[in-house]
Amino acid sequence: MFDSNLGHYLTYHHVSQAFFRRYRQQYYDGLIIPLSVACVFRQGTGGFVLTLQKEYAIDPRSPILQADFERQSIRRAHLEIAEVHGPAVSQIFVSRPLRPADVSPVAADIAARVLSFQKEFAQQSAEKVDKYATLLGEEVQSQYAGPHFLIPPYFRSSGQNDPWYAVSLGLARASVREKQDYRLAPVLHITPGFPENEFQQLARDYDDHGFDGLILFVNDLQEYVAPATTLAKYARLVSLLRGQGKPLFGLFGGYFTLLLRKIGLGCFSNAVGYGEYRDSGYHVGGQAVKRYYIPKLHRYFTDTDAETLQNIVGARLFGCTCPACRRRRPLTDYTSQELLDHFLNTRLTEIQQAGASDLSDLLDQLDDTRETLENYPMPFDPCSHLHRWVDALRPFA
């Protein structure tokens, strides 16, 4: 985030270890490790991530603690997250969601505990480095680096009148006292409906010398579904925060977020194959669906829908020349690994192309795609999102 101005981070999950191992050199600059994964698979995650020797940071995923869901659906990962936030939190969380009044009186303690976990992760999670060093062909180091930056605990807020807003700000400020020599980047976690007339105050509140960077997380912002007005609002927030001159990081995002780098967003992250958006209150696990990323449309479709689109439009427009797609076959015949490989190949190309073009050209390309697709028989418009993206970003071009 601080060394690579336009870095691309991936959300780490232990099931994707093979992927991270294979592509570690070129395809991503760093890892965001969810606290849940860092806790539940602590030694495995530590062993693997530390020997990768990539930049990493640990996302506290605190908003799950404020999420209102049935307590019988609490999973081990949730309990571990609560545990790291301290006894005041874990005792309440098992019986009900956290309320702002639960957090405020113990904010300093929560901040200290969550940051301690991050600072001590490298020391406390290195039991398996021998195993992973062998696997990765690396030498075992006598000491492993801590996170590239620290992330304070944070909660989702819908505006400045939402009590969680002050709680998050308080946690961020309390974290400054605990950061030591580390860099600190608080998360501005807002709902899509956060009032735009409060952005100035938001920017002022987070214009603190103790914050070395800022992380933006608009809850559940599904870029290819969100209206242009919401996307434009997000873009204006990025533009406003950019004025502070601090590195800005988009915690979840797809191609639209990638384009925001043209107006001041620095790094951004997504999961491998998934995670271009996230509802921070989502508490249920789920089975992965096979999805194919159509490069021209800059979005995912299920493999069957992607194949149907490709059959209608033809491989000439929708075809991909990345190594994973070199052997022509139905998209429904791709393995999950091949689908992930294709996505990362495409994302790398997108990053490179976006870096080499100005925003106006990139938006023109989206317009061209839309116009071309108008000539094909379609029962629905598969690229309405492109129209909205262009509408949202054209004022900045």
């Binding site: 299920t302 059959n311 429904t332 028989p377």
Partner: protein, 171 residues
């Protein structure tokens, strides 16, 4: 127009149509009650187009994240697979599903009740290589537009599904 709107929006009883049109509907009570008003009422007339002597039939066949409403495989060689997507309204959704079905079916159809078929974009259906089945009553359907042979059949999945359909018949 009023009675047509009612027919279009929700499945309703003949009495309701006549009441809504204050008895002015040109459809008589007998005709209205013979129209398919539920999606599963399209199955009987459609099945008559692919008789059991010639085709195995299975309903609700899983394909990807969705289900194909009716799938027919030819008894003689099992090579020909016909997929039919049933819909009372929202024909565009049916067209998209039918277009997807071309990945596993030799011929892919959309089946609609006559009142809905009257407003569909036949050019679109034709351009996508799909066929159109129109159900005039709960007992009778006709092929209004024959499907074109699919060029996109994924043989691996088609074989799996064909075996599934044939196996189901032998249980």
């Amino acid at each position: 127009m009023c009675w047509l709107y009612y027919l279009w929006t929700i499945p309703i009883r003949a009495e309701q149509i006549l009441a809504a049109t204050e008895g002015e509907s040109t459809l008589n009570k007998q005709t209205i009650s013979s129209l398919p008003l539920r999606e599963d009422e399209l199955r009987v007339p459609v099945q008559k187009l692919f008789p059991p002597e010639q085709y195995f039939c299975k309903t609700e066949v899983p394909f990807g994240l969705k289900r194909i409403d009716m799938l027919f495989t030819q008894r003689s060689n099992g090579q020909e697979i016909v997929a039919v997507e049933l819909k009372l309204r929202k024909w565009k959704k049916a067209v998209w599903q039918a277009a997807s079905n071309r990945q596993i079916a030799t011929y892919s159809y959309v089946a609609l009740p006559s009142r809905c078929a009257a407003v569909v974009d036949r050019q679109l259906i034709d351009a996508l290589g799909l066929g159109l089945i129109v159900a005039d009553t709960k007992e009778q359907a006709r092929i209004a537009l024959p499907a074109k042979r699919s060029r996109y059949v994924n043989k691996r999945i088609a074989k799996e599904i064909s075996n599934l359909v044939a196996g189901y018949q032998h249980v």
